[in-house]
Each structure stands twice: as C-alpha cells, then as structure tokens.
Symmetry: C2
DNA sequence: CTAGGTCACTGGTCAGACCAGTGCGCTTCC
DNA sequence: GGAAGCGCACTGGTCTGACCAGTGACCTAG
C-alpha cells in the first residue's frame, strides 16, 4: 500500500533530482500545469509539493513568471528560520542568548585567528578602521562597522553552523534589547571602549593567538550586555569570562 | 495591496496563536472544512497552509481522524532536517559539524563546571560509573551512558540554546557517520580511553575548573572524530585544540 | 450486553474555472 | 529602421465542487 502521500513523493523526486545533479540551482522547473502533465497528478497536489519545497528554500514561484518556478541556490535561510523558531518557542531568556553569543563569537574568533586569510584579515582591519572613523558621533556607522567586523570574523571561522547561529542570535538579541540606544549619555565612552576592544581582538587574530582572541570576545560581550540582565542571571554570563 | 499570499497569512495566524498561547501543543485544529469557514478561504488554500505547518513540524494531519489536525509539541526535528539537507547538498561539511560539537560541548562543560548543582553532579557521576561498568564488551550500554553524561552536562549548562544545538548536531553527526561501528578491532582500547577522558572531565567539573573541563571536552571529541575527516579538514578541528 | 453494520465525517486527490499579473511579439507611429 | 504602445497567451493564486478510502461513534440485531 502506498501510504506515502502523493505530494510527498513528488517533493522527494524533485529533491532527489537535485541531489543527483539532474537539476541545478538557477534552472527553472516547468510551470505548474506542465508538472501536472509530467507527474500525472492534479494541480492541487503539485502545488502542495511546491509549497513544501518553497518553504524549505528550494524553489521560488512568482506569479506571471513565464520561465516557471526558480530553483534557488542552497542557502542557510531555512536553517536560520528554524533556529529563530527554536528561540521563539523555547522561551529562551535574554541571558541565554547573550551567553550563546559569547560562545559563538569567541569560537569564531578562535577559529578565525588560526584560519584567516590575508583578505579576511584586511576586511577585519577595514571594519575596525571604520569604527574608529565613525567614532565621534556617527553611532549608526559605528554599529554597521561593528556588525561587519563580526561577520568577517564569523566567515573566517570556516564554520557555517557557527556563522548562522551567531547571526541568528545576534539578530534576536538586538530585536529584544532596544534600550541600548537609550544610553546616549555614555555613548561616546562606550564607542571608545568598544573600538579599543575590537582593536585588541583584531591584534590577537593577526598574531594568530586564538585563545586571547576568544577571551577578549567573551569579555567584550560581557562588558556590553551584562547590565542588561538581572544580577541573578548575570552569573550565567560571568561563568564564561576568565578571571 | 495585500501581496502576501493568503496561505502564508494563515500560516502566520496559526503560528502567532501558538506563540501567544491561544493554541497549545496537544490540542486539535478544526477540520479542514471548518477552517475553510473560519478563515473564509478555499480548501486548497487551507491545505497549502497546513502542508507548510506540517513541514515545519507544527501540526500533523491524519486521514479519518475525527479530532482534526494535531498540534505537535515543539520539536527540533525540522531543524535537524535542515542541517541534514545542507550537509547532503554539501553546504556544510561533516568537519564543520564536529567542530560545532566541540564548541557546544566544551561550552556546556565550562558552564556546567561553574553552575552545576549537587544533583546534576551526581547524575554525571552515575553516567561515568555506568560507562566503567559497561566497559568490557557492552558497547551499547557504553554509548548510552556516554550520551547520558553529555546530556547531563548540557542540562547543567543552563543554556537551552546550547543544549538543543548540541543535541541536534550530535544526532546529525551520528546519522552521517556510520562507520564508527567498523572500528570493532580497537573497540576496547577506545572505550578505555574514552572512559578515562570522561572521568577527567567529570573531575574538572567537580572542582569547578571550567577551563580545564572545556579543554578536555574539545580534546575528547577531536581524538574520537579527527580521523573521520580528511587531513585538509582536520585543521578546522585542530584549531580548537589547545597545544 | 455484545457483535456487527451503518453512516457521517475525516483528509487526500482530482477536475475545471476565474483572476490579476507578466512578458513576448506584433502593430503602429515617428 | 527604430521606438512606443497594445494584445494576448501564459503564469501562479484562489475558488468551487466532487469523489474516494479510511475512521470511529452510534445504532441495531442477536
């Protein structure tokens, strides 16, 4: 008995064709009505299969597109979505998220210190330079340079999973902590301290001293975020900071 | 203009209801035909929404089930599926996954060393005892005790995100590396070495020496998995091991 | 009180229709 | 000959209504 639902089998057939290389990202799928003919299934069934594939980030359908559904390049977007779900549904505390960032960021720094190429190092240096350039009062540019630095480090870590996790957690943390802008009074001193710290992390990476780079990364996040959580939760973060 | 597709909006409404607690796992959704009435959409549209939710592991539909689609407890199955996908399509290498486990496990050990309660420590001690008890030849019991130890450590870390990520990566790695059973010839020596290592990690946690516990955790995974990846990928793992 | 059958309901699938958009190709005009 | 404008065939999104194989509660016959 074929208990497997038909739309499911169609999904698997298309995924298998991708795995076998018979279909490639960038190519187009036949239009829904042609798929109906090819698979001998009704249009509703074909569409259910396409919705699942679309949800997994495999294809994208656009109305009126004569070329048919597009096979997308493999991306970690669906993975990031599932991780975001995890954060939302598991009721993860802000302290846990910050703690996670300390873990990911420091791991990325440690890996980047050993594995970085000259190009990647140049990217990090440019980001730190941008931070210093934005220093007097351009908080926006400063934030962007900050982000660029951490992204460059994450990329240099050669670990996609760390990279994606770090980005997801980063986004979620920022979306939950909105009052970081409120600290306008000590904005300047914060920027100065942050820039100096980033400079030290960069130096450690340049000298391929992964352990120091990791330690500094944790310290940086702790300094910045520790007072955003209750004292009782702060121990969860402090546990990651070397004495 | 409402360019957002209707089925997409229905998915979001149901997910929002879950987030707000208006719907709970274990409850049932109305039947498709009732949802048609409630949302004022056609059955095809409702079904496309249900397919997406089903694909995300949120609901499960069974034909003939009078109670309607079941709201599932939150699970990381969809997350694991996405990771497996990316590995299959060679967007993520096994080395990256092992590297991630080294990061998660060592972070969990470090946190557990500082944060563990007496109960949790007892759990870890029991697990290590079980490993030693299973030692001569019961590889199955040994593996279970191993898993129990790491789960206890992860739980003691007080970090849900690390805990879940670690578990997911652990499962995916195991499902992808099947030849670890092949090493029957040095099974005994492996078990002895592994048990000894776990004992040392446990001791470090007991003494609340997080840095040592973390270092040993990385070392353990590296020793076990390093020869499962190519030499060129091994440097990605070696970067996490202290000299 | 139980065994068996009926029947209203479920989800899975199908067929056919309409709509708003898109882009190609043709016409028309400069 | 080239550019601007118009159709028109086709796309995906949605709807309607139908049939089927299961399921489970209820009812009836024993």
């Amino acid at each position: 008995m074929q208990s497997d639902r038909l739309y499911r089998r169609i999904v698997e057939q298309i995924e298998d064709a991708l795995l076998r290389g018979e279909l490639r990202p960038g190519q187009r799928l036949p239009s829904e009505r042609e798929l109906v003919a090819q698979f001998g299934a009704s249009r509703s069934t074909i569409r259910e299969a396409l919705r699942v594939l679309e949800n997994d980030g495999v294809v994208r359908s656009r109305p009126g597109d004569k070329q048919g559904p597009e096979l997308l390049p493999f991306s970690t977007a669906a993975l990031a979505r599932q991780m975001t779900r995890l954060v939302r549904f598991e009721q993860i505390t802000i302290a846990e998220l910050i703690s996670s960032r300390m873990i990911f960021d420091s791991a990325a720094a440690r890996l980047a210190a050993v594995l970085h190429t000259a190009d990647e190092l140049a990217e990090m240096e440019a980001a730190v330079a941008s931070m210093n350039a934005a220093m007097p009062d351009d908080l926006d540019a400063f934030g962007q340079a900050d982000l660029a630095f951490h992204e460059a480090v994450a990329r240099a870590s050669r670990n996609t999973f760390v990279q994606v996790s770090d980005a997801v957690v980063h986004d979620v943390v920022l979306s939950l902590i909105t009052d970081d802008i409120d600290q306008a009074q000590n904005q300047v001193s914060f920027m100065a301290r942050s820039a100096e710290f980033h400079g030290r992390i960069l130096a450690a990476i340049r000298e391929r001293d992964g352990i120091t780079a990791a330690r500094l990364s944790r310290q940086l996040l702790f300094d910045f975020y520790a007072n955003h959580v209750s004292a009782e939760q702060r121990v969860l973060l402090a546990a990651l900071v070397d004495e």
